[in-house]
């Protein structure tokens, strides 16, 4: 692996047996896994190119147990990697050789459903889809809907600030949270946010924890907002001869002040892979396909369906279909939702990238991706959350061909650099993890990263929570405290010295 993880702490590794024994005293017998044969399932997350066996895995059931485990690890200087369902695509849940994995799998209960206040409180190991299932009979849903929603956990969603196809209208995880309970590395239990109220007191630490990739604390309870199910829902499916035309259509829809539930785009390779896989009836000859979903009050949806159809036609749609019923709408989505397995069928392996760009730069980036694809000799299928400029290029490769993974990773890194170059960012929703860690310098300078790491130090001064992720260079907190960017030389000598 090209990626260098922090050097393992030999002293900690040498005391593994004592650590396991102490964990065994804190937790029920079935909550500590240490046999090598049983650690296998925890060796990696969905970034399967990287595997690492941890010292042990713990499966606590209560906040008190999490607190006791963290306090112990804090005392023994043992690293901790929190883990939900392990569907991270950026290696966020990759174990460390000298650390334990703290699985939230047994935090699997919904604790409170409060429809009057439109919120639900769950333990972090509950799956994303289970939240919606729990309230859909009452006419509500939990809005962020990552494609991995049957498996991924709400705790993982908080840690990654996950999105989904409907976040254009309904927001990301961060916009749909009310409160959290979490445990700091020294075992302190805190509550953040407003509980069932909007906007909590103090600094917005709820906002800071969301998307912090398990580096600041372990989330043990989550209160989410519930959204009423829309009255009407409809979708349009449009094929375009060029990616430029499809991109312009997206701009026209948003420019008209319409906020669709979602706008997704697929390119030719993705369209054909989906068509081969599940026959959703996509136009195979199109260079780009748009799915525009509108939801809301019935009359508004009707009016906007007409308006969007007109905009799509004006933008040069070669083919245009409009749903008449829900079965047809789900059919439109079938191909998009199975884009990953569909691509998985045409290639032994793929890497899923996740940059975001300003919408207007879409065709420029696609041209660049095509050039890079030729340069590296690897195919790339593109699916995007087009409404918010979030790209998911899928780079196809074969891990059995020596050197091909390295090539795919280099290709991916070049795509992300191109995203940053046009004013975008390295990751829209999958997180930095280990995957984009060494690219952080493309977006942030040394000071930017020092400021972020000092925030980490305020939560975790010994750097025990998920180290080796997100930040390319690990600094000791004491060192960061002394670090001074202007190197001790005061700028602007003419300014007063107080």
């Amino acid at each position: 692996m090209a990626l260098i993880m922090p050097a393992a702490d030999k002293a900690v590794m040498g005391e593994r047996a004592a650590l396991v024994a102490e964990l065994g005293r804190l937790l029920p017998a079935d909550a500590v896994i240490s046999a090598a044969s049983a650690l296998g399932p925890y060796e990696c997350d969905a970034l399967t190119a990287y595997v690492q066996r941890p010292l042990a895995v713990v499966l606590p059931r209560t906040t008190a147990e999490v607190s006791a485990v963290l306090a112990l690890c804090h005392r023994r200087k043992v690293k901790v990697v929190p883990r939900g369902a392990g569907t991270s695509l950026s290696g966020g849940a990759l174990p460390l050789e000298d650390g334990i994995v703290l699985s939230l799998a047994r935090f699997n209960r919904i604790l409170d459903i409060d429809l009057a206040n439109r919120c639900l409180t769950a333990q972090p190991g509950v799956t994303n889809l289970a939240l919606t299932k729990a309230v859909e009979a009452d006419g509500f849903f939990y809005a962020p809907d990552p494609s991995s929603q049957i498996a991924c956990t709400i705790g993982g969603n908080v840690a990654e600030n996950s999105g989904g196809v409907h976040c254009l209208k309904y927001g990301l995880t961060t916009h749909n949270l009310l409160g959290l309970e979490m445990v700091l590395i020294d075992g302190t239990v805190i509550r953040l946010g407003g509980g069932k109220a909007l906007d909590g007191p103090g600094y917005d630490l709820l906002g800071v924890i969301t998307g912090s990739e398990g580096l600041l604390g372990v989330v043990t309870e989550v209160t989410v907002r519930l959204t009423p199910k829309p009255q009407g829902i409809g979708a349009l499916l449009a094929g375009f001869d060029t990616v430029e035309a499809a991109g312009a259509a997206v701009g026209a829809i948003i420019g008209a002040g319409i906020v669709p539930g979602g706008i997704e785009m697929m390119d030719s390779l993705a369209i054909n892979a989906a068509e081969d896989f599940c026959h959703p009836g996509y136009p195979r000859e199109a260079a780009a396909l748009l799915i525009v979903e509108l939801d809301g009050p019935a009359g508004e949806v009707e009016a906007q369906m007409d308006e969007v159809a007109a905009l799509l036609n004006a933008a040069g749609a070669r083919s245009l279909r409009r749903t008449r019923d829900d079965a047809e709408r789900l059919g439109f989505w079938a191909g998009r939702k199975s884009a990953f397995p569909a691509v998985g069928r045409i290639s032994p392996d793929y890497l899923c990238m996740d940059g975001t760009i300003p919408r207007a730069r879409l065709s420029e980036i696609l041209t660049k991706i095509a050039e890079l694809s030729a340069h590296y000799g690897l195919r790339c299928a593109n699916v995007f959350h087009a409404g918010d400029g979030n790209l998911h290029p899928l780079i196809l490769y074969d891990a059995n061909i020596p050197g091909e993974l390295d090539k795919a990773e280099a290709f991916g890194a070049d795509i992300l650099r191109a995203c940053v170059a046009v004013g975008g960012v390295l990751t829209g929703e999958h997180g930095v993890g280990i995957e984009k860690r060494d690219l952080m310098g493309e977006m942030f300078d040394e000071t930017d990263l020092a400021v972020q790491q000092r925030l980490k130090c305020a939560f975790d001064p010994a750097g025990l929570l998920n180290p080796g992720k997100v930040f390319p260079v690990l600094h000791r907190c004491a060192e960061l405290g002394r670090l001074h960017v202007s190197g001790g030389k005061l700028r602007f000598p003419e300014l007063p010295r107080f």
């Binding site: 302190t188 109220a197 909590g200 918010d388 990751t427 000071t447």
Partner: protein, 407 residues
């Protein structure tokens, strides 16, 4: 008192770097409208950030704008309106609450105080609209965080931390905000003559329906008659937007939902807009002489009954509810502690929190403006503050005991 007015981020960094070295405490000033919010800053010098003003880059097609924090809100709103866009979090013009002229508030002030208006439940708070920030830490380092796109999880979400930090972590020099399109039409439905209990229940039914209201508020009679579009009686107000052809249907659907509890009366056009400006700016509680002003954040279903309960304990209390009951504004007649001993425990019992927005200095000296956090959280907040501003020189004292920094 000495006053610094740096004209570039580099010069600002120079000023703060020296202040950090010398322990000189600075009072950060943008537009100067929220002079009375929080506690008095204990400072040795004023750091005037008014030079960081002006729209740097506005891309309507991308729905983002980059600007200096000292840009007046009015300037931004006018520029956005020209492109048919707006700030969806409805930042209030809070100056008049502090006895200032209207129209002076800055974007930086709204962000630093995380101020949002009636659009907040649906569109998010100020913090949700700050995509990127450039700022100078209390050590005098220029840093940036976030970006210019909505979907971004690259690094910690420091823009959220900056929002609502009242200038205690860093001095902001550049902000990138997300802006929203303006729907072609909007209308307000008024449901008159409802008591607080009935209004509270009704607002939850409407919020939980598929009608997608843009905003929901309740004005008791006394406040309703004082709004710019005077209402004859206590009113639940529901704001809708969308294509104009669809709005009549929304009103009809609302009537179906409400049944015979109250007839739906439509308020159109400028009257509708002005009604919400008045709610946003808390105009119905002004002018209010010597009253203290509280802002409560509570579970929405509990809001109206809490207010009615407080009104029986505090004679002469004036109040209204925004955010379908989740945001209460209270104007309390003169009391030694501005009513804190009655208000705070009841709000806490509901899991909410209460902020004393305005009160005479003598009261603020005794009553913390911000809810003091529990010990574990307080220690964490103090460590965070020290990570950005180790010498405690940025706006010391402004948060009172709310966020206990080194000062």
């Amino acid at each position: 008192m000495e006053r610094f007015q740096p004209t570039s981020a580099e010069r600002l960094a120079g000023v703060i770097e020296r202040a950090h070295a010398a322990g000189t405490r600075l009072h950060l000033v943008g537009g100067g409208t929220k002079a009375g919010f929080g506690h008095p800053v204990v400072a040795d010098a004023v750091l005037d950030l008014s030079a960081f003003s002006g729209i740097e880059r506005y891309e309507p097609a991308e729905q983002v704008i980059t600007l200096g924090p000292a840009t007046p809100l009015a300037t931004v709103q006018a520029a956005l309106a020209e492109e048919g866009q707006r700030l969806a979090f409805d930042p209030p013009d809070i100056g008049p609450v502090f006895g200032e002229a209207p129209g002076l508030g800055t974007v930086g002030g709204a962000i630093a105080a995380n101020l949002s208006g009636p659009g907040r439940p649906r569109a998010g708070a100020a913090r949700d609209h700050l995509l990127g920030v450039e700022a100078v830490t209390g050590r005098g380092e220029i840093f940036k965080a976030g970006g210019r796109v909505v979907k971004n999880v690259t690094g910690y979400d420091l823009p959220k931390l900056m929002a609502g930090s009242f200038g205690t972590l860093a001095a902001m020099t550049r902000l990138t905000l997300r802006v929203a399109g303006r729907a072609p039409a909007t209308v307000t439905a008024a449901l008159l003559d409802l008591d607080p209990a009935a209004a509270g229940r009704l607002m939850q039914r409407i919020s939980g329906s598929a009608l997608e209201p843009l905003a929901i508020a309740y004005l008791p009679a006394e406040v309703a008659v004082r709004t710019r579009h005077p209402l004859a009686a206590a009113a639940v107000l529901v704001r809708f937007d969308g294509p104009s052809v669809a709005l009549d249907e929304r009103l009809a659907d609302l009537q179906t939902l409400v049944g015979d509890i109250a007839p739906v009366e439509a308020i159109d056009g400028p009257d509708s807009d002005e009604t919400w400006v008045a709610i946003r700016d808390i105009a119905g509680l002004l002018p209010d002489g010597a009253r203290a002003l509280w802002r409560l954040s509570v579970p929405p279903a509990a809001g109206c009954s809490l207010a009615a309960d407080l009104a029986t304990s505090i004679p002469g209390l004036r109040w209204f509810a925004d955010w379908a009951g989740g945001r209460l504004w209270l104007a309390v007649p003169p009391l030694a502690d501005a009513g804190a001993a009655i208000i705070r425990p009841r709000v806490q019992a509901l899991g909410g929190h209460a902020t004393l927005v305005r009160a005479p200095a003598a009261i603020k000296a005794q009553v913390p403006a911000f809810e003091p956090p529990p010990a574990g959280l307080a220690a964490l907040e103090a460590r965070i503050r020290a990570a950005f501003d180790p010498a405690g020189i940025l706006n010391p004292g402004i948060l009172g005991s709310g966020i206990s920094g080194p000062n």
